[in-house]
């Protein structure tokens, strides 16, 4: 299975998003580079609105992810509840 990945700017909001990702994607790899955080996982990765809201302690729109997003790899699917990344092969 190939790895999907997401890179976020290293800032206050992203730290909570990363916490949420870690909780919802057991076994995910977090790599810290200067000014950015790279998150990799085998096959799939999901960012759930509900978990991020819990960590942030406020409402969070999945599209807000764009403010902190640097790059990603994988087929994207986004709706009101989550953003998911996946490879089919």
């Amino acid at each position: 299975m190939s790895k999907v990945y997401l890179a976020l700017q290293d800032n206050d909001i992203s730290r909570y998003i990363v916490e949420a990702i870690e909780e919802d994607n057991p076994g995910v790899t977090i790599i810290h580079n200067p000014a950015m955080i790279r998150i990799e996982n085998e096959g799939t990765l999901v960012v759930n609105r509900e978990t991020v809201e819990e960590k942030l302690g406020r409402d969070w729109d999945v599209q807000e992810l764009h403010l902190n997003l640097i790059t990603l790899g994988g087929n994207v699917d986004e709706d009101d509840e989550r953003l998911s990344l996946s490879w089919n092969a």
């Binding site: 599209q63 764009h66 902190n68 790059t71 790899g73």
Partner: protein, 498 residues
């Protein structure tokens, strides 16, 4: 929660598809004259999906927020005199190259998407191209703003747009986009949205920008990551474009593959500039070009092409000919030896940097490249800093000087040539030669800067007049070695070491 709030999927449908209209008094074919011209077959535009389901209202909201964050950092950067906090003045030269070579491509991308978006019959594709077009305009503007601060303190930033259209090494990025923009609309999308954005721009914006942060340049890393946050959307569009074309008709597969092969090779050659910036121009280094290629092409691209295999798409042709072991060394050596004709400063890597290069390129650096730098050091110590007297021969396709070596022999320069209508054309590689063969009528029109100089189209008669009068370089300030440059003298004065 408001009971009547639309969900994302419904909102996207209403604000894209349902905005389209039928043509009542004009033929549809006349409204979209380029849609069939390349041989691509579209059977159902409604299958076009934007996985982010971004609509214009949300687009403006989030883009405005990105801009506010970005400009707050620019202000803080300027107010804090942060130009003094970068690692050393050599670093600034990577930014000069960025402004003259890369930022004008953002403008070309803006023009390209505005034009291309207009050509599609499907409204989803039109909206996506419109957003990307506006994004690209934002990128060029934010980059100019960020770098205008450096223009107050350093040489070489004064006339980047003029230089982009003229300077010998800047024709490499310029001709890349000229080639894409003069192609049909579907080739443009495969070239820029997929091959460039999805497969390759991570290499430019991610490790290099992380490197900018590591060298104390908060303005650059911020515009870089702000731009890249749009790129994440562009990349996704690039992948959707490919899947859409491949699912529409099986006849599209060979066309798409041919464009992937071409634009992967064009992009890989172009990005040797970024390789050189990462390996030689960043005083604090995050990762080598070879490592970046491993993470962002081999790993990420490998996963991508495995995913696309079910459509009958394979890895780009020539992928095994990309010489990540050699390209950055060969290119920086060329810039160093032509440093009298560059709009930025060049230098010999320090001993510590050479050790880093040995560690990162254990098979090649000590064997092939360290001895050259040792010779350059010796010549410099004898008061004879080397500048070549010759003008380089250029590849007709990628316009890079013929500086790369054979894949199986790094001591032998790679030359290819072909005769077309009685004229001989030269190429740096099999890839560039084959691209020419596909469309010779296009590439015989290439504006090759060295040819133009020899034909007398760039002023002269000497190289000095070309550089100063035609290119607009301030000789003795913008060009030559960093050692003894006005940039270095000012830096030392500011730092109290002069």
């Amino acid at each position: 929660m408001a009971a009547n709030k639309l969900n994302l999927k419904d909102k996207y449908r209403l604000l894209t598809r349902d905005l389209d209209w039928e043509f009542s008094y004009q033929e549809r074919k006349k409204a979209f004259p380029f849609e069939e011209f390349e041989g691509i077959k579209i059977t159902d535009w409604s299958k076009w999906e934007d996985p982010f389901r971004l609509t214009m209202d949300a687009y403006w909201k989030y883009q405005a927020e990105k801009e506010k964050k970005l400009y707050a950092i620019f202000d803080a950067f300027a107010q804090n005199n942060s130009q003094l906090n970068v690692t050393d003045p050599r670093y600034i030269n990577a930014i000069k190259l960025f402004l003259t070579a890369v930022s004008p491509l953002e403008y070309q991308a803006f023009q390209g998407f505005a034009h291309t978006g207009r050509q599609f019959g499907g409204v989803g594709a039109r909206v996506a191209c419109q957003m990307q077009s506006i994004d690209e305009l934002r990128h060029v503007q934010t980059q100019i703003h960020a770098m205008s601060h450096y223009n107050k303190f350093f040489d070489g930033f004064q006339d980047w747009s003029h230089m982009h259209d003229r300077v010998w090494y800047l024709s490499v990025p310029k001709s890349f986009f000229d080639d894409a923009r003069s192609a049909g609309p579907f080739e443009y999308l495969v070239a820029i949205s997929f091959s460039f954005e999805y497969v390759l721009t991570n290499l430019l914006f991610v490790p290099f920008m992380s490197g900018a942060a590591y060298n104390g340049d908060m303005a650059t890393v911020t515009f870089g990551f702000s731009a890249q946050s749009d790129e994440a959307r562009h990349m996704t569009l690039g992948l959707e474009v490919i899947k859409f074309l491949l699912e529409q008709h099986e006849d599209n597969v060979p066309l798409v593959q041919k464009w992937i092969d071409k634009w992967f090779w064009r992009g890989a050659q172009l990005l040797s500039i970024v390789g050189m910036m990462m390996d030689y121009m960043l005083p604090n280094k995050v990762m080598s070009w070879k490592e970046a290629w491993g993470v962002y092409f081999e790993e990420a691209g490998g996963a991508l092409f495995k995913d696309l295999a079910r459509y009958g798409i394979r890895m780009p042709k020539y992928v095994e000919q990309v010489q990540t072991e050699h390209m950055s060394h060969q290119l920086w050596w060329t810039m160093y030896t032509h440093g009298h004709a560059t709009g930025f400063h060049t230098w010999i890597p320090t001993d510590e940097e050479m050790d880093w290069l040995s560690e990162k390129y254990p098979e090649t650096f000590d064997k092939y490249y360290r001895p050259r730098w040792e010779l350059a050091k010796q010549m410099e110590a004898e008061g004879n800093r080397f500048y070549t007297k010759a003008l380089p021969q250029l590849c007709t396709t990628c316009q890079i000087p013929m500086l790369f070596t054979e894949v199986d022999d790094p001591t032998q320069l790679s030359f290819r040539d072909t005769v077309y209508h009685g004229e001989r054309y030269h190429f740096c590689s099999d890839g560039c030669r084959d691209i020419f063969h596909e469309e010779p009528e296009k590439y015989v029109q290439s504006w090759l800067p060295v040819h133009q100089i020899f034909q007398g189209n760039c002023g002269g008669p000497g190289v000095e007049q070309v550089l100063s009068e035609y290119y607009g370089m301030n000789l003795g300030a913008d060009n030559l070695d960093i050692k003894g440059s006005p940039d270095e003298q000012r830096w030392n004065r500011w730092k109290g070491v002069a």
